[in-house]
Symmetry: C2
């Protein structure tokens, strides 16, 4: 029995979570779900965007599903807090073409491995006389473990190259260290081709030659930007999943936010959340189940059953129900 | 008589500069050129990537053309030094579709206004116990003047909206200030629509809906990344020009670097450098001449006379010569 904590959050977070659970439920998994709160509504109730109780539950779980939260200026970011508190040092963002989602490229299959605990995300900012200063913190330890993860992932998934992305021509010390640690780790993986690129060049290459990349590893902020760019290549935020992974814990969430503008309309694309559950299943060593969901999702998309953001006219619930139906069919054939 | 300082620099910097001057020469302009050195070869000769003499010349000029330099680890960046020494606080990067360059979109015409003096580019980095820390410096003064430039530019060029790009959900103080100053400045331009976006969202929107943007204003590093991404939409680095502009001075340079791998082969695309000279001409209030060059360039591209990077088979010199010939023809018709 696996304990799964479910944090629907705010806005469309709740809608896509309901959809994803509807799909998951069709696989008779030995999961026990526990619901927890976080985000802006949670703040309004308890004065905290991420209560101790939620953190405690997440720490005790085998995995956590996270929908999306609204972050209001002045309130603490629930997801950044969770990433840091649980030392979820990897933010894994697969970029894979799907049928019928209006991506610019077909046949893309690469992954961005984003460092998830430091860089400009450490929250060390101070006002100065006429402005403010933020600290970009980079440690060898964090560089090493994220690079190691990237190479191990390449080996596990049968990829042959890993590209480091940095701006060491300007950030000579911080990104100099990142590049150095990258090549140190690379030495232990002689079968994998290691290369490095400037972040501005990579922002261009993702568009000009995305097929040349397999695993891209980078620091936190560059990873944030590049992964949204990459998501656009394969259809946008509606279909981009992510996994926050640490030594012990994992939180699986769509890349998109709570999208207040479309919340409550039952039109949010559940694909990103559903794909995030497949990342969770893989993490829990349930690769077969993950593949079943992927198949059902692709079949549904091919039939044109999809939400408006990718050119469809179905509701969140209809899409989820269709995927669930496909899943049950496929499963029974198995 | 205008004094123009010419810094060819390293690698293809020299080749594209020669090409650009060949084109410029066809317009009988009252320009006096002075050549100056900078970059890696300059370092090897004088032990300095950006000698005092070069800075002195640039300071005394009406405008400067800059090719590209090679920056070797351990050597000071010539262009960053120039931007800072001359207080060239604007980095203007127009994104315009050209015929026959293999861009993803046609009809694009927007501009990125990148702050050019602060952010992570201030060079304040220090090693720590197990890593390093870089400072991201943001001042109200710099935010204000770059935003003011963006709105003035919108008014001058007949644009109707300005979009600020930041990451104020994470960089609450530094980018909070940027956003605040942006909206303060916006109040003085009631005819212009002001909006703001997170940098990760913008990295996606540039691909999903680039036609919705006209003037984008942002801090230094985000501008670096987004402008390379945007360049990819309209054909890549071979065709992306830029202007570094301050109160008194202007340095005009292609976005691309010195490209050591293709240097010496006479295959570098001179388009970016040539378009940079048109930005200089506009800056010197020679709008008519700038337009003539743009026309000659477009005609040449339409004829398929272009370098290999954009699918052609002509040399740098052939392309430059063809543009020059067109220019002479158009000019005589005028
Ligand atoms: C909401 C925000 C703090 C977050 C981030 O910047 O990491 C989001 O953009 C993401 O990519 O998960
Ligand atoms: C060469 C490098 C320092 C420079 C920058 O980052 O500004 C370049 O990428 C640019 O965009 O002009």
């Amino acid at each position: 029995m696996k304990k799964i904590v479910v944090i629907p959050g705010d806005g469309i977070g709740k809608e896509v979570m309901e959809a994803a659970l509807l799909v998951l439920d069709a696989l008779d998994l030995d999961f026990e779900y526990e619901f927890a709160e976080a985000g802006h509504e949670c703040f309004q109730k308890y004065g905290d965007t991420i209560p101790e109780e939620t953190i405690r539950l997440v720490k005790g779980a085998d995995a956590t599903l996270f929908g999306a939260v609204t972050t209001v200026p002045g309130e603490k970011s629930a997801i950044i807090t969770l990433r840091r508190e649980l030392d979820l040092f990897v933010n894994l963002r697969p970029v894979r073409s799907l049928p019928g989602v209006g991506g610019l490229f077909s046949g893309l299959d690469f992954v961005i491995v984003r460092e998830n605990t430091e860089d400009l995300y450490v929250g060390l900012e101070e006002y100065t006389g006429d402005g403010a200063v933020a600290k970009r913190v980079i440690t060898r330890r964090a560089c090493k473990r994220i690079c190691k993860f990237a190479f191990d992932y390449a080996v596990d998934e049968g990829f042959e190259r890993v590209a480091a992305v940095h701006k060491a021509n300007v950030l000579k010390k911080t990104d100099g260290i990142f590049r150095e640690e990258f090549y140190k780790v690379a030495r232990n993986y002689p079968g994998i081709k290691a290369e490095d690129f400037y972040v501005d060049a990579m922002a261009m290459y993702l568009i000009k030659k995305p097929r040349e990349f397999e695993v891209i590893v980078t620091t936190n902020m560059f990873g944030d930007i590049l992964s949204d760019e990459a998501a656009a290549l394969v259809g946008g935020l509606g279909v981009a999943p992510s996994a926050n992974i640490g030594k012990k814990h994992g939180i699986f969430e769509p890349v998109h936010g709570s999208a207040p503008k479309i919340a409550g309309k039952n039109i949010a694309n559940p694909t990103a959340m559903i794909l995030s559950t497949t990342l969770m299943l893989k993490h829990l060593k349930k690769k077969k189940e993950a593949t079943l969901i992927e198949k059902a999702l692709k079949k549904t998309l091919k039939k044109g059953i999809k939400t408006p953001d990718i050119g469809g006219k179905h509701t969140t619930t209809q899409v989820a129900q269709a995927i669930r139906d496909e899943l049950i069919k496929i499963k029974d054939h198995d």
